[in-house]
């Protein structure tokens, strides 16, 4: 009986795992296949070619979109780490009038659904003249409430002796934060970093609203419009190739840092 359940368990898991992996392998394979072989289950073909990829490069400025996405995701992640850890430090370790009000503000703001602010934020960006610019993509995403809460919680648990000793040596709070606390905070830096980076890399609704010029688009937006706008024609291989280029950087990072990804993103659900 025990062995039977065990074998059944493995069979079920394997089938389930295949259901999760096979579609991605199929996508990778379809991006390389000639059109008449795409509607088949086989993952390998003798007629593999890079024609789908070259079609993508010919029809849309995808290299530019890769650059845009990288720039936007990296700058907003860096900014979230610096600014949120600063607020987290102030809320956890400094005493000042209004501190608790600011922490309550952070908790309250986190409950506002993003869709509520979509229209007025768009209008604000139009008024500031930021449409079709990096500013529209980066600046509204420079702070993270979830990041502040995670940093505050972590910094609260670090020993006060660290701060006292550093103060005696004449360290400013900025040096304490960035030279003493940061090196001790790798787990939270990784967590907040991954959540922010993945969120930014995959974001599609906001860019669709504030970016119209092809040269300013991010990857998810360009790949979506390539598909929806009919630019890919009926070339499924080209659509799959574009989707592959959007997925690949994240998949590669995921393969190397799987454990961090899973732990970080699971936390994002519990906190957010």
């Amino acid at each position: 009986m025990r062995t039977l359940t065990k074998v059944l368990g493995y069979i079920l898991l394997t089938i389930a795992a295949l259901t999760f992996i096979y579609p991605f392998l199929w996508m990778a394979s379809a991006s390389l296949k000639p059109e008449n072989e795409i509607g088949t289950l086989a993952l390998v073909s003798e007629n593999f070619s890079l024609r789908g990829y070259s079609a993508v490069f010919k029809q849309i400025p995808i290299a530019r979109a890769l650059f845009n996405s990288g720039l936007v995701s990296i700058t907003s992640t860096a900014s979230v780490l610096v600014l949120s850890s600063m607020v987290g430090y102030a809320l956890a370790r400094l005493r000042f009038v209004g501190r608790d009000s600011i922490f309550n503000l952070v908790l309250l703001t986190m409950m506002i659904p993003g869709q509520l602010l979509l229209i007025p934020l768009y209008i604000l960006v139009v008024r500031l003249g930021w449409t079709d610019s990096y500013r529209a993509l980066i600046i509204p995403a420079m702070v993270s409430n979830m990041g502040i809460i995670v940093f505050r919680q972590f910094f609260k648990a670090l020993p006060q002796d660290l701060i006292d000793a550093a103060r005696i040596d004449g360290c400013s709070d900025y040096r304490i934060l960035f030279q003493i606390f940061w090196p001790l905070s790798k787990p939270v830096l990784i967590t907040v970093g991954i959540i922010t980076f993945i969120g930014s890399w995959n974001e599609v609704l906001w860019p669709l609203i504030v970016i119209r010029r092809w040269s300013m688009m991010t990857m998810p937006q360009m790949v979506t419009l390539f598909h929806v706008g009919g630019l890919a024609g009926a070339q499924v291989a080209a659509e799959m190739a574009a989707a592959m280029m959007l997925a690949l950087p994240v998949v590669v990072a995921y393969l190397f840092f799987q454990r961090y990804f899973i732990e970080s993103l699971a936390l994002s659900g519990i906190k957010g």
């Binding site: 703001t109 506002i112 229209i119 007025p120 699971a266």
Partner: protein, 310 residues
């Protein structure tokens, strides 16, 4: 570390303003500098848009011509707008399949993974993969898999002797096809939540139960499930919020069709704002969406509070 004095021993209790001034004098000024960027960002990108969204509810505005105050007409319109309610009902239909499917499947896999299993981290990693990948990629891929004539899902169905399914082309099927895809995309995430919940169940409970002669199924129904209730609630809340936030899926796969059967609230908001330039009405939909999300989360949290033992 300077203590913030509450009552001065010599001068006694001071008036409120004097106390605040005193506390401010004792405050760490660096704290203000450190939170300043956040506060400015909050004022410009959260507080101002929030107030502006509220003003927009009472206005008609196409961005080009001047804003016009129209009282509560946007709200009246919302209640009479059959298309908006279709979008709400579509969301409920989506959730009616998505939530039970998500809970049953991810709990089943989590329970198996929680046992003495080899390659656990491989399996967990495989299930989690779709969750890290952009929704744009997942929808573009699944639209291809779902294709009625050329999709491999129908190819597999016909191979095993079943009828092909009009996944995205039939109004009766389309929203459920999207629900299945969403379940697939998020399952790894919920498996991890359930695994964490399962690991929090004290093993003594199972030992005690098996001494009392309870078999494994009884143990599951009487011990595991009741103790997993908080995780269950989290899963329901998060997938409900996810359901109300559906956008890229119908945007890419169906454009809201066929016959508005996959129109989501956010897609409707997007269309009102950027196809018809009705900013006031779109902001009203935004508020309605926020209120629905609050209500659902509030009710679900209430349900947990009353059910929790002691």
């Amino acid at each position: 570390m300077p203590e913030i004095a509450e009552i001065d021993p010599v001068r006694g209790r001071q008036p409120l303003f004097g106390r605040l001034a005193e506390q401010y004098r004792m405050s760490d000024k660096t704290g203000y500098v450190m939170v300043l960027p956040y506060v400015l960002h909050f004022l410009l990108f959260t507080a101002y848009p929030l107030i502006f969204a509220f003003v927009l509810v009472f206005c008609r505005w196409d961005i080009v011509t001047p804003m016009e105050f129209i009282g509560i007409r946007n709200i009246q319109r919302l209640f009479r707008d059959a298309t908006f309610w279709t979008a709400v009902i579509n969301t409920l239909r989506f959730l009616a399949l998505h939530i039970p499917l998500q809970i049953v499947l991810s709990l089943l896999i989590a329970v198996i993974l929680n046992g003495p299993i080899k390659f656990r981290s491989f399996f967990r990693g495989a299930f989690f993969l779709p969750f890290v990948i952009s929704g744009a990629v997942v929808t573009i891929l699944w639209q291809q898999l779902y294709s009625t004539d050329a999709g491999i899902l129908n190819l597999i169905l016909t191979r095993i002797g079943m009828q092909p399914v009009p996944w995205l082309t039939d109004p009766a099927w389309a929203i459920y096809s999207i629900a299945i895809m969403a379940t697939w995309k998020n399952m790894g995430f919920y498996i991890v939540l359930f695994l964490a919940g399962l690991q929090n169940v004290p093993p003594e409970l199972y030992e005690a139960a098996s001494i009392d002669g309870a078999n494994r199924y009884q143990q599951f129904w009487r011990i595991t499930l009741p103790l997993l209730q908080p995780v269950m609630l989290l899963v329901v809340i998060l997938s409900t919020i996810g359901g109300f936030s559906l956008f890229i899926e119908p945007f890419v796969m169906t454009g809201g069709g066929p016959a508005e059967s996959t129109l989501s609230v956010v897609l409707y908001l997007y269309k009102q704002a950027f196809q018809f330039l009705r900013m006031g009405y779109a902001a009203t939909i935004g508020f309605a969406l926020a209120i629905m999300i609050f209500l659902v989360t509030f009710i679900q949290r209430r349900l947990l509070d009353t059910d929790q033992p002691a």
